[in-house]
Amino acid sequence: MANNDAKSQPFTALIEEATSRAPENTPSWLAELNMQAAKRYAQVGWPHARAEYWKYTNLNKLAAGAFALGDPAALAAVPRERILPLDGPQLLLVNGAFRSDLSDISDLPDGLSLRNLAETTEQDRAILGALIEETISADGLPFAAVNTAVLTDVLILEFAPGIATERPVHVISLGGGDGAAFAPRLVIRAGDGAVVDVVESHVGTGGYFADVVTQVSVARDARLGHYKMQNETLDAFHIALTTTEVAEGAVYDSFVLSTGARMARNEIRGTITGGKAEYRINGAYMGNGEQHLDNTTFVDHAAAGSRSREIYKGVLAGASRGVFQGKILVRPDAQQSDGFQMNRAMLLSNKAEVDSKPELEIYADDVRCSHGATVGELEEEQLFYLQTRGIERNLARRLLVSAYIDEAIDEVQNPAVKEAFKQMAAYWLSENLTRNIR
């Protein structure tokens, strides 16, 4: 995968722009971090066309785009109808930078410590730096390297041990403007026994490139609900990596609803480091037009006696394309692991396409792991049945697709967030399934 001719790589100029900022504006540790990441990116390289890890997602259009660092001071209106409709505190990022002036932090839960770049601790910096080591792994993770090379701000959410939040903390990442590139960086840490929910909504205006990294850790016996609405404009690029570490007895409940962007990749990599943990990563993707929506997941069972469960469902209209790559690794010591993975897609047009690539890599002998993938279309018999009861064909189609997607959303454990996702899915259907498609 390595491409030694670093100068020719996309985003090299962008990284140079970022790392040549006036030193007085950049703390030395950050300048060092940016530089390290830039070096890693030069080593890791841009994924070449045949890279297995990017086999189904062509990056040429992104590589061809002309991007400059987005202005964190840009003021843009939040497209409220595109974010998850939820009560509770809202933390706003504009082009990757935390904007306390635009955030609603009057009602943050007790026990949540919120830190931006200037407030980072030694430990925070170690966590940010640790990802650079991972980017040299077999799969490359070039975009995590780019994110770290250009980042100017971070948002750390640290939940104290034992606390419980009533309402989710909502992080809204707002991308602004054609040609803006930006790198939101979140760190979410749930302390021992904490029971908390964090929601991300990714929205924006224009044709920008969001290179998102979220680093999550769920400590012993904690429960983190982590939910993401990825709802960009149809001109935007969104490439996101979420890394997760889940300790003994912990529950990680994740859901990603991907409806936006010209091209989106939502990648989740998780390591289960203790027993009796529940690792739940579920999602839904809804595409239309020329959209390309990629969900890539990697679950590493590194400890015995834990469960992972993964259900993704997609609805693809127009000439949209969905990609699902899911890998489960069970290490030799991870006996009694229980892994389940399923991707189902419904194609609403004969130009839509989905690629599913499930992968199991199992080195322990006493495990239960299964995976499956299905592709289907709306059943004419069901449509006819609804029509014979007076229901218009278009409404019948919406009811059936909505039921299909809601079944995936039902995996969300937080009831308010589940309802919010269902509303967003229904909104998508009302916007996209109005014409008589067959």
Binding site: E381, Q382, Q387, T388, R389, G390, L395, Y404
Partner: protein, 251 residues
């Protein structure tokens, strides 16, 4: 005036001519039974009337309350008052029975330009009708027909019919797969809907159903055509002698 008038109806399915000139008139309040052997065109007739895709009418006409039924989409036919109770009711995963009934009921109201139903009143109305068919609230919460037994599915069809109150109900092999008790419940449900202005078309292979729902007229369908019509005694004759006398008469 007739509620339904079928004239010289020819239809093909998969390129094969299945209906070869059907004439049938149903007046308000009448119950007609169409009996016939397998492959005679009984189910095709029900699908052509309800507007299923894949069936092509090549000749003839169907007039319902003075309107050209064949010119309408399936949902328009339903909203005009034609109801098909399926031989094999379709499972709709993820759509709760109550939601389904409400969507159907409101579609009908929308069609006739009326405001949508009050949710509480509608719920109460459906529960009462479900109770009469020995259907529990739990069945209404479950996705439509998913995991239902054969008898439960048929009861669900009759519940939909009771809620939508169609002018013409076409009941396709409604007795198939029912044990005696279920047949009684379903027939009682159907009989409760008989009225001087509502009509029914029972499509059945066996005479058994007609012991419970007494028809005004019985027609024998074979080779895509009505071969003979008569009173309910004709059904008993068929039960005794079978369809062999009709099947030989190819068109």
């Amino acid at each position: 005036m007739f509620l339904l008038q079928i004239e010289n109806l020819h239809a093909t399915a998969g390129g094969q001519e299945v209906l070869r000139g059907i004439d049938l008139e149903i007046g308000p309040g009448e119950v007609h039974a169409i009996m016939g052997p397998n492959g005679s065109g009984k189910s095709t007739l029900s699908y052509v009337l309800s507007g299923r895709e894949g069936y092509e009418v090549t000749e003839g006409s169907v007039t319902f309350q003075g309107k050209d039924l064949l010119d309408m989409e399936a949902n328009e036919r339903a909203n005009e008052g034609v109801f098909l109770a399926f031989q094999y009711p379709v499972e709709i995963p993820g759509v709760a029975g109550m939601t389904f009934l409400k969507e159907a009921f409101n579609a009908k109201l929308r069609y006739s330009g009326e405001p949508e139903a009050n949710a509480m009143e509608f719920l109460k109305m459906v529960r009462e009708k479900a109770k009469a068919l020995s259907m529990s609230d739990e069945m209404l919460r479950r996705p439509v027909n998913v995991g239902f037994s054969g008898g439960e599915k048929k009861r669900n069809e009759i519940l939909q019919m009771a809620v939508l109150e169609p002018m013409l109900s076409v009941l396709d092999e409604t007795d198939s797969g029912l044990d005696i008790d279920a047949l009684k419940v379903v027939s009682d449900g159907i009989n409760a809907l008989r009225s001087p202005d509502r009509s029914m078309l029972l499509i059945t292979h066996y005479q058994r159903l007609l012991n419970h729902i007494e028809p005004d007229y019985v027609h024998v369908l074979a080779n895509g055509r009505i071969q003979c019509s008569g009173s309910k005694e004709l059904a008993l004759e068929l039960e005794a002698n079978g369809y062999s006398g009709f099947e030989g008469e190819a068109a």
